[in-house]
């Protein structure tokens, strides 16, 4: 596998190179571009590592959603050069930071390279635990059953984050619509794309969420696509976010974790306990949770991208 090895080497160097470039970039805007490029390269790395589920997530969330949200903050920050240069660490401090980074990196490399061989693995156990659930994708089985509590808490964390972001608003803006106003663009390439891409994207998003049960994909990846397909017409000024006090929006954000929690607690009655699925009904129940979660992930991510309410409610 010489070609594969070369590919790995090239990818490793490219990732490190773009990451270093990102730090060194002169403007914040360029730094964000460097970050997104690094993220796209990481997607390829994940494919090379045989983790296609993660590759999808990295592309959708790691590079895509994170890049976009960084970008919209950069676009609205205009750095005070004096303050920044005053706060820039001195040469000695930077040398110290480099020393710290190198020692941590070095220690880590030492630790990683001395990991035992053959490596301990739960691959076999996870595979054995996938079939009884009626799923075909062991990663989804781990996410929804074996480590279901992680996923439940993570879904709840997203609600925490949305609420935390909203609560940073100014008091008098409460009840307003999130994010800046974009001028409606009637013509031009952007409005065209904002009209033709979402229908295709929504289908693809639902597809990616749907196939998650049996092959790589799932709620987080699909939900991110759906969020992006809402953000695009928002940028083009075609749609406006609902008010943060709108209970329908809140329900949409919370419905995923609520469904997950309800199914989990129902396990006390209909199955062996919390987050256990009754035999034979595991797959439909998991699909139900995934559907609700896809909706919630999409709504939560869109809200995180849009930010806190910035416009007063119109009475």
């Amino acid at each position: 596998m010489t070609a594969g090895l070369l590919l790995d080497l090239l990818l490793a160097l490219a990732v490190l190179g773009t990451a270093a470039w990102t730090l060194a970039a002169r403007s914040q805007f360029a730094a964000v571009i460097g970050f997104v490029v690094t993220g796209l390269l990481l997607t390829l790395v994940w494919v090379r590592l045989g983790a296609v589920d993660v590759a999808l997530t990295e592309a959708a969330i790691g590079a895509g959603a994170t890049g976009v949200i960084l970008l919209y903050v950069v676009a609205r920050l205009r750095g005070g050069e004096a303050e920044i240069s005053a706060a820039t660490p001195s040469r000695a401090q930077r040398a110290l930071a480099a020393l710290l980074a190198l020692s941590v990196g070095g220690a880590l490399a030492y630790g990683v390279l001395s990991l035992p061989d053959p490596a301990p693995s739960l691959a076999e156990a996870a595979l054995a635990g996938t079939a009884p659930l009626g799923l075909g994708n062991p990663v989804s089985a781990v996410l929804m059953a074996h480590r279901g509590l992680d996923t439940l808490l993570e879904a709840i964390v997203l609600v925490f984050a949305v609420l935390a972001v909203w609560s940073m608003a100014a008091d008098h803006r409460w009840g307003g619509r999130p994010g800046p106003v974009f001028q409606r663009e009637e013509h031009g390439p952007l409005s065209l794309l904002a009209r033709i891409l979402p229908p295709v994207g929504i289908v693809i998003g639902i597809y990616i969420a749907w196939v998650g049960a049996d092959s790589p994909g799932g709620k987080f990846q699909g939900g991110t696509i759906l969020a992006a397909m809402w953000v695009l017409p928002w940028i083009a000024g075609l749609v406006r976010p609902p008010s943060v006090t709108d209970w329908r929006l809140r329900l949409m954000i919370a419905i995923g974790p609520l469904t997950f929690l309800a199914v989990g607690l129902a396990g006390f009655v209909v199955a062996e306990g919390f987050l256990a699925y009754p035999p034979g009904f595991a797959k439909p129940l998991i699909l139900l949770i995934e559907a609700a979660m896809t909706l919630s992930v999409a709504a939560a991510l869109a809200c995180l991208i849009a930010g806190p309410p910035e416009r007063r409610r119109r009475a």
Binding site: R78, P180, F182, P189, L193, R311
Partner: protein, 113 residues
Amino acid sequence: MSLLVGAFSTACVLAGVFFFVAGTAGLIRFPDTLSRVHALTKADNLGLGLIVLGLLPLAPGLGAALKLLLIWVLVVIGGATAAQLIGAAAARDEHAMPSPPSGGRGLGEGGVP
């Protein structure tokens, strides 16, 4: 896989790779931004199209083949839009105006002076 199909795939893929390399050469050698944008999108879209064409016979089923085509269509649409917007942005940067440009709209009330 018959020998013929294999040869066709290989040829298409290699041609596609060639276009990617050519696109990069254009990117590096062309002097101004606008021609770089065009060199990039045209050559890369064509290269990707050839690679898709080469991989089509290897696709395991109709679904995979359709997916390949859809990917290409999406890349072409996205590329065209982005190229147009980048070109406009380049033009705008070229005649950078002293006052905030028309593109500075949409800032809303971000609190930026």
